[in-house]
């Protein structure tokens, strides 16, 4: 069954979408959209590094994404004007990554593949990496769910309840880096943040509790991944962008529903 590239693509898309959705909820709740952007854009730098050092792309991306996320945590924690700062990092990381990739002499790099993903080229080996990472990131979020939620609501309240908000933020950072590393093959560095944020934002009007929002985001993400895959096959469009476009369409629908219902 795994011989069929469409089945592999579907499984890869599902894995990433399911892992990204609950994480994406926290990105939305904590207003970390730019943070997610910067971290995922840094993935291109990771690709360049991995190709230059001849190590697996997954590893290179994981290391760089983690380094980026940690650096941002330290910098924004010191109260440097974070909105502009994150914007600078997000775009500088992308530009620097593209420059760095152009220096890699050995392979003619398929840049588009890393920018918008190449889900149809997912191998069985990729699938193992993707699902391992996705399960790891999801397990981390599930394990720390209540603590993360408390720290998100109010760091002081969490602290008074005996939790450590900084540690919870690190948990989130780690899960984010892992997700970025497994998602680059599926939607590419440019659109990873979209896969985090859009399903979560689309799920908001449907939910009355945080858990319901996470589940709805997972459903929307998974639906967009599968639907986008089929659509891109039928219309001969790039798959990653098609998946994100479909998620954006769902976002529009739920927003309109909310407006209509008041």
């Amino acid at each position: 069954m795994l011989d069929d590239f469409m089945v592999r693509a579907a499984l890869a898309g599902l894995g990433v979408a399911l892992a990204a959705a609950p994480l994406g909820c926290f990105v939305v709740w904590r207003r970390m959209a730019y943070f997610g952007d910067a971290t995922s854009h840094a993935a291109i730098l990771g690709v360049a590094l991995a190709l230059a050092l001849d190590v697996p792309v997954f590893g290179g991306v994981l290391v760089i994404a983690l380094a980026m996320a940690l650096a941002l945590t330290v910098l924004t924690g010191r109260g440097v004007g974070s909105d502009a700062l994150l914007g600078v990092f997000a775009h500088a990381a992308l530009a620097l990554g593209l420059v760095a990739v152009s220096f890699v002499p050995t392979v003619r790099v398929d840049l588009m593949g890393y920018l918008v993903g190449d889900i149809l080229a997912v191998s069985s080996g990729d699938l193992v990496v993707i699902w391992t990472g996705a399960v790891l990131a999801s397990a981390l979020i599930a394990w720390r769910w209540s603590a993360l939620l408390s720290a998100t609501l109010s760091p002081d309240l969490a602290q008074a309840a005996g939790l450590n908000p900084r540690r919870e933020h690190l948990v989130l950072t780690l899960a984010l880096a892992v997700t970025v590393a497994v998602a680059i093959k599926v939607v590419g560095a440019l659109l990873i943040a979209a896969l985090l944020i859009i399903p979560a934002a689309a799920a908001r009007p449907l939910a009355r509790t945080p858990e319901a929002m996470a589940v709805a985001a997972m459903a929307i993400g998974a639906g967009s991944a599968l639907g986008g895959l089929m659509l891109s096959f039928a219309l001969d469009t790039p798959t990653g962008p098609t998946i994100v476009s479909l998620a954006a369409a769902v976002f529009c629908v739920t927003q309109v529903m909310q407006t209509v219902h008041g």
């Binding site: 709740w29 939620l149 408390s150 609501l153 760091p155 002081d156 008074a160 319901a212």
Partner: protein, 257 residues
């Protein structure tokens, strides 16, 4: 009897700039201690240090081992993207049953709110839900940071009455910051007047007559809210200077234990 919470030579600051220096404070079981002071006097920083959210720049904080703190923050900004029912909020970070949620809401004077969204509550309801959450774990010490901000006079009077009820029912100590001076004077066992340091400390009567307090808040306590003009380098009067000397062996609190 040892204190629930005690600070020794505590100084607090952000990025090298001290907002509070050399605070010796202790809270005994069952007493209500209120911190008053003008804006920017370091009240909230002191509260945050007591709950462990702000690391001391100098000095130390000792908490009784196993001390359970219930914290009611000044405000809680809930992002519009975060759906949260009252019942779910009460179950953070530890899940509770729906029945328990209902019971504690009733205890805090707001029964039947469990299924409402936090963002849809009125100011008074919101503060009581925060109080309900703080009471869940049967805390030894209730810490409140200007809990009645945004409430009208009857609203805050009712809220403070609720806190007094809670103290009587559970025997927990209360440490709070307040702007409502006349309420403070009526409801507190001990008042700390702070402005970058502890200016004076004692029973409400002693503090109200202290020159430091009058310099900060004027002579009439009735309706006299914070005056923003005050001198930083005032001298301490003898009535208030011995705040470290009398070592908290005061009032009938020990007898009550």
């Amino acid at each position: 009897m040892s204190a629930l919470l005690e600070t020794r030579g505590l100084s607090l600051g952000y990025g090298g700039q001290l907002v509070m220096r050399d605070v010796n404070l202790s809270v005994m079981r069952g007493e209500i201690v209120t911190i008053v002071g003008p804006n920017g006097s370091g009240k909230s920083s002191l509260i945050r240090a007591c709950i462990g959210a702000l690391k001391p720049a100098k000095g130390q904080i000792t908490r009784m081992s196993g001390l359970k703190i219930g914290y009611v923050p000044q405000t809680l900004a809930i992002d519009s993207t975060l759906p949260l029912t009252v019942a779910r909020f009460l179950g953070l970070p530890r899940r509770i049953s729906a029945r328990r949620a209902e019971a504690v809401l009733a205890e805090a004077g707001v029964p039947g709110l469990g299924n409402r969204q936090m963002r849809d509550l009125s100011g008074g309801q919101f503060q009581r839900v925060l109080l309900a959450r703080a009471l869940l774990d049967a805390p030894d010490l209730l810490v409140l940071d200007e809990p009645t901000q945004g409430l009208d006079q009857p609203g805050s009077a009712a809220f403070y009455q609720q806190i007094e009820n809670v103290r009587q029912q559970t025997g927990c100590a209360v440490l709070m910051v307040s702007h409502d001076l006349h309420v403070v004077m009526a409801a507190s066992d001990r008042v700390l007047c702070v402005n970058g340091h502890i200016c004076c400390e004692g029973t409400p009567e002693i503090v109200a007559s202290a020159p430091e307090y009058r310099a900060l808040f004027g002579t009439g306590t009735r309706g006299a809210l914070a005056l923003y003009r005050h001198e930083h380098s005032h001298s301490h009067g003898p009535a208030c200077e011995d705040d470290h000397g009398h070592d908290h062996g005061h009032h009938g609190n020990e007898a009550a234990e």
